[in-house]
Symmetry: C2
Subunit: 212 residues, 2 copies
């Protein structure tokens, strides 16, 4: 079967649930757009995706196809099973109202990815303070290993690029079309996502339609 | 005045409170020993030190003298005001029972810095799931900016080396003498700390005694 694509409008967010084996495909519809992605244990949202545990167990700060995302309780929450870009960030926090005031003082403050994730996740009992560092799909943050300095550069993703996460436990997830000017090359575009239930193959020969 | 030094025994932890302007000195008494340091808002422990916000606002992953540590709510919690080493880590999560089982399967599992921090912070209402990525004082984690790979190397700190944090709000803090073999060059040593109240100078001419 071929899943339908849900469109997350620019500077907004959405939440969803995943069962083990379900696949979440995040699509950069127009190209050059970041999507902040977070996961929680569906049965206990005190367990959340942890960049620190993931970095520790993988001994690296860059993640792509084949890498697993770990929780604060050292359980595997999801695995990256497809990735057409290979450049993402897992260091920086979701942009927020306070971040806009600090980093973009000349712009009208926006609630940012943090506000959008918090709003989408509120029905699942996740409070704003519980939003962790997100997996920032398509975000391009080169790090200089010698100086330790980093920069936020335009994403390398082109229209139709995607990354696919396979759930390894019952999850509540949320994602955004990121709201920070610097992260998205200065413009705001939508993000698409689709959820393929466990057992279904996205490129099943019985359906050759496009994912978009 | 010259503050006394509290000794945190090997593989253990301690908690404390700080008022704005108070200075926390963390001392590597014997050298080559990591100390995981965390901070919370004393009046609302849902506000905690955030490596993601700190990395974002500083645009770097390495921190030393003059750098500020930010909270998840984008407030400055503390500032590094002295540092005789200059090499610390702010990427990796505190070692934990689960981490020991995964990374050190041949050793008797230890509750690690996570367990020690959780135990020390329990009286302040901090639950184990709320322990964030710690500021890992003296931890030596070189990162390859190109590949994204990192390694955990022996600390560069020598006996008597120290780092000093100045509180910028009412804080509950905790620190450890880290329990992970790899982080500490294969042996476990104590960590010292002292708290100098706001308004007191550590090198006041009326008292020339050693801090240790």
């Amino acid at each position: 079967m071929q899943p339908s694509l849900t469109v997350v409008p620019p500077r907004s967010g959405a939440a969803f649930t995943l069962a083990p084996g379900d696949r979440l495909m995040v699509v950069d519809i127009e190209g050059g757009q970041v999507s902040d992605v977070v996961f929680f244990n569906r049965h206990d949202v005190e367990e959340y995706v942890s960049n620190g545990r993931t970095i520790d167990y993988a001994s690296k700060i860059k993640f792509s196809n084949g890498d697993e995302l770990w929780s604060n309780r050292s359980n595997i929450m999801a695995k990256i099973v497809e990735d057409t870009v290979g450049v993402h960030d897992f260091l920086l926090t979701p942009c927020s109202l306070e971040m806009f005031r600090l980093l973009y003082p000349r712009e009208e403050p926006h609630r940012g990815c943090h506000g959008n994730l918090a709003s989408a996740l509120a029905p699942y009992g996740v409070s704003p303070d519980r939003i962790p560092v997100a997996f920032n799909a398509f975000m391009n943050v080169p790090v200089d290993g010698v100086s330790g300095k980093l920069s936020v550069e335009p994403p390398l993703s082109k229209a139709g690029d995607s990354i696919v996460f396979e759930a390894k436990m019952d999850l509540v997830g949320a994602l955004t079309a990121c709201s920070a000017p610097l992260s998205n090359g200065g413009s705001f575009k939508p993000i698409g996502f689709s959820i393929l239930p466990a057992g279904c193959e996205p490129d099943d020969e019985t359906d050759s339609g496009s994912a978009i």
